[in-house]
């Protein structure tokens, strides 16, 4: 059953993924078990295939959609059983940039890994990031930029968080084609993630380190 669930996610079959989750739950499987042993390893496999250029963006989107279908059934149960989310992540593509596919994949994979995600969408102005962090008390702020011309917005956000004294309370993670490890250091972000899997690993690390 787990194998089938994983395969459904890996092959991007959302109806099947949903059906297998439903069946497994009916058989009395624990939601957290289905998540940790089914959805998460499946998305890790998808990430591997992406790294090896066996999967491309459409395949990853399809898998993420299947994972989300399964997760939709699990999430209310996890909340009911008082499983705390691993952490709260505020996420968005910076102002001037509408490229949100990568950011959406990161959001879905983070949710799949047990994070609560508040997605601000694309073309997000600096103040919107700052206010969302302030209001939600998020542990992590994730910003994405595909265009090098827009990545400077990230630096503006970091500066504003500092000015308002909330920088120490939040970990900042950046990603997207326009961003690198060097750039993350330069703007004093806490981490750079090159893809969705690395985003999950780094988000976990950043939540533990607090």
């Amino acid at each position: 059953m787990l194998e089938e669930l994983r395969n459904a996610v890996i092959s991007g079959a959302d109806k099947k993924a949903e059906e297998f989750v439903r069946q497994a739950l009916a058989e009395g499987k624990e939601p957290i078990f289905l998540m940790n042993e089914g959805l998460i390893p499946a998305m890790e496999e998808v990430g591997e295939r992406f790294n090896h250029k066996e999967y491309f963006v459409p395949e990853v989107l399809l898998s993420a959609r299947a994972m989300k279908a399964g997760l939709a059934l699990l999430r209310p149960l996890l909340t009911e059983q008082k499983f705390q989310p691993v952490g709260l992540v505020v996420l968005g593509t910076v102002q001037g940039d509408l490229h949100d596919i990568g950011k959406n994949i990161v959001g879905m994979v983070l949710e799949g890994a047990g994070f609560q995600v508040q997605d601000l969408g694309a073309d997000v102005p600096p103040d919107k990031f700052v206010n969302a962090v302030k209001e939600s008390g998020a542990q992590i702020l994730g910003m994405s930029a595909l265009l090098t011309t827009t990545r400077t917005v990230m630096a503006t956000v970091v500066k504003k968080l500092k000015e308002q004294g909330i920088r120490p309370g939040v970990r900042i993670m950046v990603g997207g084609a326009a961003v690198s490890d060097d750039y993350a250091r330069k703007i004093e972000a806490d981490a750079f993630a090159k893809d969705a899997l690395e985003a999950v690993a780094k988000a976990r690390e950043l939540t533990v380190r607090r």
């Binding site: 459409p58 959609r65 940039d97 011309t149």
Partner: protein, 360 residues
């Protein structure tokens, strides 16, 4: 009426000076292979750089000024020609023009390139309402046509223009994420949007050519997110149709890492391929035919904008040396040069290319 028939174009081409007609007729001679072939005997290389956005510094204008006024952009490009004395000049690349002409909303950042901020087509029935926009009237298409016309009238240089590719335009019209998923979930709808996008591109590019463009660059950045199989199915056929309809040499530009698509791209009837910084250019040169010009691929940010002129020079010389074995190489940047790139850095690239002698 904007429909340009092949007869109109032939009449127009016939009115050109012989040298320009040759550029247009003999595909491999244009876009540098002509100069490349001549210069090769002296062991020299040429550079083809997207100078327009950075040249706005020379005229003290914003990118927006240039993309909304043909005479302003013409002045800027003339300033670039005077300052850098390039072998050809291209209009500022702006991939929001076609979608805006179709009816999408566009946002202009302060001093950057505009981007499409609304989707237009939600379902297949919407498509029936759509007409191919008239390039002489729709949105900012006339701005480009005017720029091209002025350049072509005033300069003896090859004039390059261009626009968006069909898959990227389809992504703007229905949303890129939807276009990506659609290769699996709604391929028929995607094909319908692509057919429309293809006609938009052809009509706009023909108008540019009729206005005096000697060569066009089709930018298909979103193509790089597809697998080779889907690139073949959802991009290559439409690109081929466009290229065959255009009576001038066509360059294909793909942003990001398109290394996995080179075998597919090699089959397209392009005169030239322009690739971005993540691609290993020498490997690309081994995959594409020797009669296709390969241009690239200095990193426009980490090298061209951020290094000092000496660093830019070193990076340019390194790339030139690496490309010694490939006569069809044209040095360029991987993607557009940013508006705030120092003029000295651009000069450093051109100086290095002009001094270099290669040993094939």
């Amino acid at each position: 009426m904007f429909n340009i028939t092949p007869a109109d174009l032939n009449a127009y081409l016939g009115s050109l000076p012989v040298s320009r007609r040759i550029v247009r007729r003999v595909k491999p001679l244009a876009l540098g292979l002509g100069p490349l072939w001549l210069l090769r005997r002296a062991g020299r290389r040429t550079a083809g750089l997207p100078l327009g956005t950075a040249a706005t510094q020379l005229t003290g204008t914003s990118v927006r000024d240039n993309l909304t006024s043909g005479s302003t952009q013409f002045q800027t490009l003339m300033a670039a020609v005077r300052r850098f004395r390039p072998d050809g000049i291209g209009i500022i690349s702006d991939l929001s023009i076609e979608a805006q002409a179709c009816g999408c909303e566009v946002k202009f950042p302060e001093n950057g390139l505009p981007y499409v901020s609304s989707k237009l087509i939600e379902n297949p029935e919407d498509l029936e309402k759509f007409r191919v926009p008239d390039p002489y009237r729709a949105g900012r298409m006339p701005v480009v046509l005017k720029t091209v016309r002025l350049l072509s009238q005033k300069l003896g240089l090859a004039v390059g223009s261009g626009g968006i590719g069909p898959f990227t335009l389809a992504g703007e019209l229905i949303g890129t994420e939807r276009a990506a998923l659609a290769v699996y979930t709604e391929p028929d709808f995607l094909h319908a949007v692509l057919r429309y996008a293809t006609e938009v591109v052809i009509s706009y590019q023909l108008a540019q050519i009729a206005s005096g463009s000697d060569t066009v660059i089709i930018g298909e950045p979103t193509g790089s997110i597809l697998s080779p199989r889907h690139f073949r199915e959802f991009a290559a056929g439409y690109l081929t149709r466009i290229i065959k309809k255009l009576p001038v040499p066509v360059t294909l530009h793909i942003c990001g890492d398109c290394a996995h698509l080179l075998d597919e791209i090699a089959l397209l009837p392009i005169a030239s391929l322009s690739v971005d910084a993540p691609v290993n250019l020498a490997e690309a040169a081994r995959k594409i035919p020797a009669n296709v010009i390969l241009s690239g691929n200095l990193d426009p940010i980490t090298v061209v904008r951020e290094l000092d002129p000496r660093g830019v020079r070193e990076a340019t010389l390194k790339l030139l040396t690496e490309m010694d074995p490939y006569p069809n190489f044209l040095l360029s940047t991987g993607c557009d040069i940013t508006p705030d790139t120092p003029m000295e850095n651009i000069q450093a690239i051109l100086d290095a290319v002009r001094e270099y002698r290669y040993k094939p």
